[in-house]
């Protein structure tokens, strides 16, 4: 209990210290109320864990809450006017997280809908493509009741569930294969067909929306999950030429892909034109040096484009320096690694696959955007989970977190309880 409380106090310390450094007077009272609600949820959640005997992974939630607190501080820092929304979504997200964690009795039921999840993903994307509005070059947002929604975030959830269900069901066939093709045995079309079709649909629609970053995340998710389940390097081997081929095709066919790559190769050629975003991002990151300029002192918050979403990390790296940027990196690494740990401990195959999928999703999302803003990869704008401004991303990632910890808790309960309440599944 004491341990739990201390970690929460540290997290709340980050939030309130950050907000106080950013000057009380300029913050609206509504924002402070939301911050108080956030505090209350964190503390109540902590109490609830105690009362309901939460036995799952003890590190993931505090670490995510720390990332969340840091994210909130930086959203307030970059644009106090929209920070209120972010607080709303953070609070709703946490509530949803606890709902998923405590209300879902058996996560295996999620697997019941099978292809419906895949269908949902495709439909969501199709609707966005047809009725969505264009924003920042990509047709990926959708107005619903006056609230902008990013359906591709929800597609992450649907696809993850589809993948886990499908892979669990067809694991043996995918692993062994039934059709001999040269030296390799591949699964037959009936097994692979639905998967390929949905994957092709999803990636195709995302490419049509010009959501290259999200497409890349999904591609990595598909490939790595397939590898995790089948443990066949063959799938990795096949995916690489496919990736290179589609990449080259996209490069030759679409101008915006070409521009991205050229800017990535040499942003200094035209730092005021095409290279502006990445050049400003790198100026901001390098401006932080070791200890950073201090919260609120950086220049990047006003010079880096879309600092509040895609480039939020550049601002963090400037104001908190290398030390702070590494801290953020390590926090994300902890979450991803603990997700894999949950996967390794889970008692049933579905839980294992789902937890691993969540780990892969979080890991690739973080890597792709952070490698993008540091010029290790061509820049493809996606939000940094729990940090970037955006309600859809927050909600979806909190739900994913709920599923992850639900699996973790169920595993622990099954291991500890003497009476088997039907939770001890064959592995």
């Amino acid at each position: 209990m004491i341990h739990r409380l201390i970690t929460r106090m540290i997290i709340l310390g980050i939030l309130w210290l950050g907000l106080s450094v950013l000057k009380w007077e300029s913050l609206s009272s509504q924002l402070l109320w939301q911050a108080l609600i956030f505090t209350a949820i964190v503390l109540l959640g902590c109490l609830m864990e105690q009362i309901l005997h939460y036995q799952g992974d003890p590190y993931i939630l505090p670490v995510v809450q720390a990332i969340m607190a840091l994210g909130l501080v930086f959203v307030v820092r970059i644009n106090p006017n929209v920070a209120l929304h972010q607080f709303w979504w953070a609070n709703i997200g946490q509530a949803l997280f606890y709902a998923v964690l405590w209300a879902m009795h058996d996560y295996r039921k999620l697997g019941r809908f099978r292809y419906l999840w895949g269908l949902l993903a495709v439909v969501l994307l199709l609707v966005t493509l047809m009725f969505g509005s264009e924003e920042g070059g990509a047709t990926s947002s959708f107005k619903f009741l006056g609230i902008g929604i990013q359906p591709e975030e929800f597609v992450k959830l649907a696809l993850l569930l589809f993948m886990a269900t499908y892979l669990e069901e067809n694991e043996e066939l995918l692993r062994v294969g039934t059709v001999q093709w040269g030296r390799f045995s591949l699964p037959d079309w009936r097994t692979l067909g639905p998967f390929i079709i949905i994957v092709a649909f999803v990636l195709g629609i995302l490419a049509a929306q010009k959501s290259l970053g999200t497409a890349l995340v999904f591609y990595m998710l598909f490939v790595l999950m397939l590898y995790v389940v089948t443990e066949r390097a063959l799938y990795l081997g096949i995916s690489l030429p496919i990736f290179l081929l589609t990449g080259t095709m996209a490069y030759m066919l679409f101008r915006h892909v070409r521009v991205r790559v050229e800017v990535w190769m040499n942003p200094w050629l035209d730092p005021t034109g095409g290279g502006y975003q990445i050049a400003q991002s790198l100026f901001a990151i390098s401006g932080g040096k070791i200890l950073g300029t201090g919260l609120g002192n950086g220049i990047g918050a006003s010079t880096v484009p879309v600092a509040i979403s895609d480039f939020v990390f550049s601002v963090i790296a400037e104001e908190l320096g290398f030390a702070g940027a590494m801290a953020v990196l390590v926090l994300f690494l902890i979450v991803v690694m603990r997700a894999f740990a949950v996967s390794l401990k889970a008692k049933d195959r579905f839980g294992q696959i789902l937890a691993a999928g969540i780990g892969i999703l979080l890991g690739t999302e973080t890597l792709i955007i952070l490698a993008g803003v540091t010029k290790l990869l061509p820049l493809t704008g996606i939000p940094l989970p729990w940090v970037s401004y955006g309600g859809s991303s927050l909600i979806v990632h909190f739900i994913l977190l709920g599923v992850l910890l639900n699996i973790s808790n169920a595993t622990a309960v099954a291991t500890h309880s003497l009476k088997n309440k039907g939770r001890e599944y064959a592995t």
Partner: protein
């Protein structure tokens, strides 16, 4: 489960690569990117920092940022007197001079201790550090006024410590309302008010003889022997003549320096040989980078290399009295003078006395450090006695001051072409325990005694009237 472990390992490794990327940008490339011209970080940063003040050694304000109605204005209460040394700092014109060279102090971004760094994280707007210079406003303004209307430079140092007491270059400009007057300032092509003339290269003329003296002493030539100056002499087929072809008659070393006898120095300088001459010149700092807050062009003996391995006899003969291809900056000439005054040891020159952080704690203090040992004590005494004779009974007489013994040497350097010579005057005082060493150049001023000596005299007089030890 092998698959999960491998993917986990792969992701962890990718995070590691990512952290290397951060090291690259935030540590390796940080300074390079900060200087990139597309990076407006420093300019924007500057607008939030209140630039520190610049003060003279007595605490008089030279430059200060004042805030009125939320607008920051840089004021220069001394006007033109400290220009172009002080420079300027505006958003449009960027910065120059001390304002540029000391920018990292003035903006408070140099030498930040970890605790200060942490304090700064939470303090904004920030206050830069204050810089206290070694300059003395009184001497500076006397030097400025004495040189007014002429083109030239004055550098005064404390020979014991290397502290720069005055640094004037005329013509100068007014740093107030600079942006409005900028077009006018840069259009003054003939007087070039932005040029820092104490860092410009000139032929040293007869002031070079103090350097040649060292070579003559070291070659074992008896300096008490008399030499018959006949107004001109022939060395290796080249005629060396005195100024106005005046014959000095029988002179020894002391009298030759006092009368600035070219033929004496050419004859014995050549006799001493190029080796001795070049070693002596190098010992005085020719061909060497002067450690200072500014970049100073190297003084040189020949055009091809600052200190050549050999010097042809004809060129050596001309070099002994500061013609030929010898070029020197007035600042370096002041250092040479200071070296003679300080028994042969040239102290490292410096302009910054100390740096004070916004709470007025001293965070940096310059300690006197020797730079070069140009002469032995005996050699320094000999040259000093020659320079004393020059003031009492020689060409440097216009620089004499009642009650204080000045040691000095004049120079009239031919810049080439049919134009009046540059007037040089180097001096230190009091001769037995020097507190000030000075170099004055008046471009195309004629003789050193006529044009430069009166300026030096005023400055030395003012310095001597100040009580020693009182700042």
């Amino acid at each position: 489960m092998r698959g999960v472990r491998r993917v986990a390992l792969g992701i962890a490794f990718s995070f590691f690569i990512l952290s290397l990327g951060l090291v690259y940008w935030q540590v390796v490339q940080a300074d390079t990117l900060l200087k990139d011209k597309a990076n407006r970080r420093l300019i924007l940063m500057e607008s939030r920092v209140t630039r520190g003040g610049i003060f003279d050694r007595n605490g008089e304000i030279i430059a200060q940022t004042q805030t009125s109605k939320g607008k920051k204005v840089r004021v220069y209460p001394k006007g033109e007197i400290f220009e172009p040394l002080l420079g300027y700092s505006t958003v449009k014109l960027a910065s120059s001079g001390l304002e540029a060279n000391l920018a990292d102090w003035l903006l408070g971004i140099k030498k930040v201790s970890p605790t200060q760094a942490v304090q700064q994280l939470f303090a904004l707007p920030r206050q830069g550090d204050d810089v206290v210079l070694t300059l003395d406003s009184r001497l500076q303004s006397i030097a400025y006024n004495a040189l007014n209307g002429k083109m030239g430079a004055v550098v005064a140092l404390d020979p014991r410590t290397g502290e720069v007491l005055a640094m004037v270059s005329q013509p100068s400009f007014n740093p107030t309302n600079l942006e409005a007057n900028w077009a006018d300032i840069i259009s003054r092509e003939k007087d070039r008010p932005l040029e820092q003339r104490y860092f410009s290269l000139f032929p040293p003329g007869s002031t070079m003889k103090v350097v040649t003296s060292a070579a003559i002493f070291r070659s074992g030539i008896n300096t008490t022997d008399l030499y018959d100056c006949q107004g001109s002499t022939m060395i290796n087929g080249q005629i060396i003549s005195e100024q106005n072809d005046k014959s000095h008659g029988w002179v020894n070393y002391n009298m030759a320096l006092a009368d600035s006898c070219n033929t004496y120095f050419a004859t014995f300088g050549v006799q001493a040989g190029d080796k001795n001459f070049l070693v002596a010149a190098k010992g005085f700092g020719f061909g060497q980078k002067i450690p200072f807050e500014f970049n100073i062009p190297m003084s040189s003996i020949s055009k091809a290399t600052p200190i050549p391995a050999k010097l042809a006899t004809n060129l050596l003969a001309a070099s002994t009295f500061g013609q030929g291809e010898v070029l020197v900056t007035p600042f370096h000439m002041a250092l040479i003078t200071a070296g003679i005054a300080n028994h042969g040891v040239i102290m490292t020159p410096h302009l910054v006395e100390r740096i004070l952080d916004p709470t007025q704690n001293v965070i940096f203090e310059q300690k006197p450090q020797p730079w070069l040992t140009a002469l032995s004590k005996e050699e320094a005494v000999k040259i000093t006695s020659g320079m004393v004779t020059a003031v009492n009974d020689g060409t440097a007489a216009p620089g004499a001051i009642p009650n204080v013994q000045v040691a000095a040497k004049t120079g009239s350097a031919e810049p080439g072409g049919n134009v009046p010579t540059h007037g040089w005057y180097i001096a230190f005082a009091p001769a037995d325990a020097p507190r000030i060493a000075i170099a004055v150049i008046v471009e195309h001023g004629g003789t050193g005694g006529g044009s430069a000596a009166p300026i030096a005299r005023q400055i030395i007089q003012a310095a001597m009237s100040q009580k020693e030890g009182v700042k």
